[in-house]
């Protein structure tokens, strides 16, 4: 299990993401910089007009992976707080699907951490996007997350209450 950083906000939600409020929350008095990334629904994809999107997630695992990203940021960048919120369900054009905010004393760490977070989220967090067009719907092309090639047979961890 990872350390929990008290002020971080890691969430999945089916409501509109309150980006402004989240960006304000991550800032403490010792911070001089807040970098944010807002991923929002474009009106086009691969040359076709998008009507709306739907996102679904393996929710428990997605939250675990998002928390891992936040822990990585705290371990590798001189940052203060992290907020990372992804929306699920139906989203209209212009709505925010993911919002990430990182605060720090100095700007380089906030920028680097924010970018690492969204790049890694897109590669490793089990969330799926379905795109709805006038003539049908498709699951978006995605990224294959890196997974172990072979198991270390001898010592695979047991399921929760080690029921064997």
């Amino acid at each position: 299990m990872t350390t929990s950083h008290r002020h971080d906000r890691i969430e999945l939600t089916r409501e509109v993401i309150p980006s402004g409020a989240i960006a304000s929350e991550v800032r403490a008095d010792e911070d001089g910089a807040v970098a944010t990334f807002d991923g929002c629904v474009r009106n086009h994809s691969h040359g076709r007009s998008t009507l709306h999107l739907e996102y679904e997630a393996y929710e428990s695992m997605a939250l675990a992976k998002m928390r891992e990203i936040a822990e990585h940021l705290h371990a590798h960048y001189a940052i203060d707080r992290v907020a990372m919120v992804h929306r699920l369900g139906r989203l209209e054009i212009g709505e925010t699907s993911v919002f990430i905010a990182v605060s720090s004393a100095h700007r380089a760490a906030a920028f680097d951490a924010c970018r690492y977070a969204i790049d890694t989220l897109k590669k490793t967090v089990p969330i799926w996007k379905k795109e709805f067009f006038a003539d049908g719907a498709v699951w978006a092309d995605g990224e294959v997350p890196p997974a172990p090639a072979a198991s270390a047979d001898a010592e695979t961890p047991a399921a929760e209450p080690a029921s064997n």
Partner: protein, 81 residues
């Protein structure tokens, strides 16, 4: 032993369910579970190359041995963000 299987995205649509409990032999690995699940849903097989498996909410190799009560997800390429 019984394990839980989860399907997401296009796999959920193909398999017609998001979750099922499956009985597998002791010593079975994730790849055996996938083979079992594909028997009744042959369309799953053509996605095998692009899937990643998760065991108890962690990415896992296909040769990972299963234990009773494990939660296994077959994950299509992810597209969050």
């Amino acid at each position: 032993m019984i394990v839980k299987v989860l399907y997401f995205g296009r796999l959920k649509e193909l398999s017609g369910s998001s979750e099922e409990s499956v009985e597998v032999r002791d010593g079975a690995r994730i790849e055996d579970l996938f083979a079992h699940c594909s028997m009744s849903r042959p369309e799953l097989r053509k996605f095998r190359a692009s899937l990643v498996a998760a065991r108890n909410r962690e990415f896992a190799a296909w040769d990972t041995p299963l234990r009773a009560g494990d939660e296994v997800g077959f994950l299509p390429p992810v597209s969050g963000g």
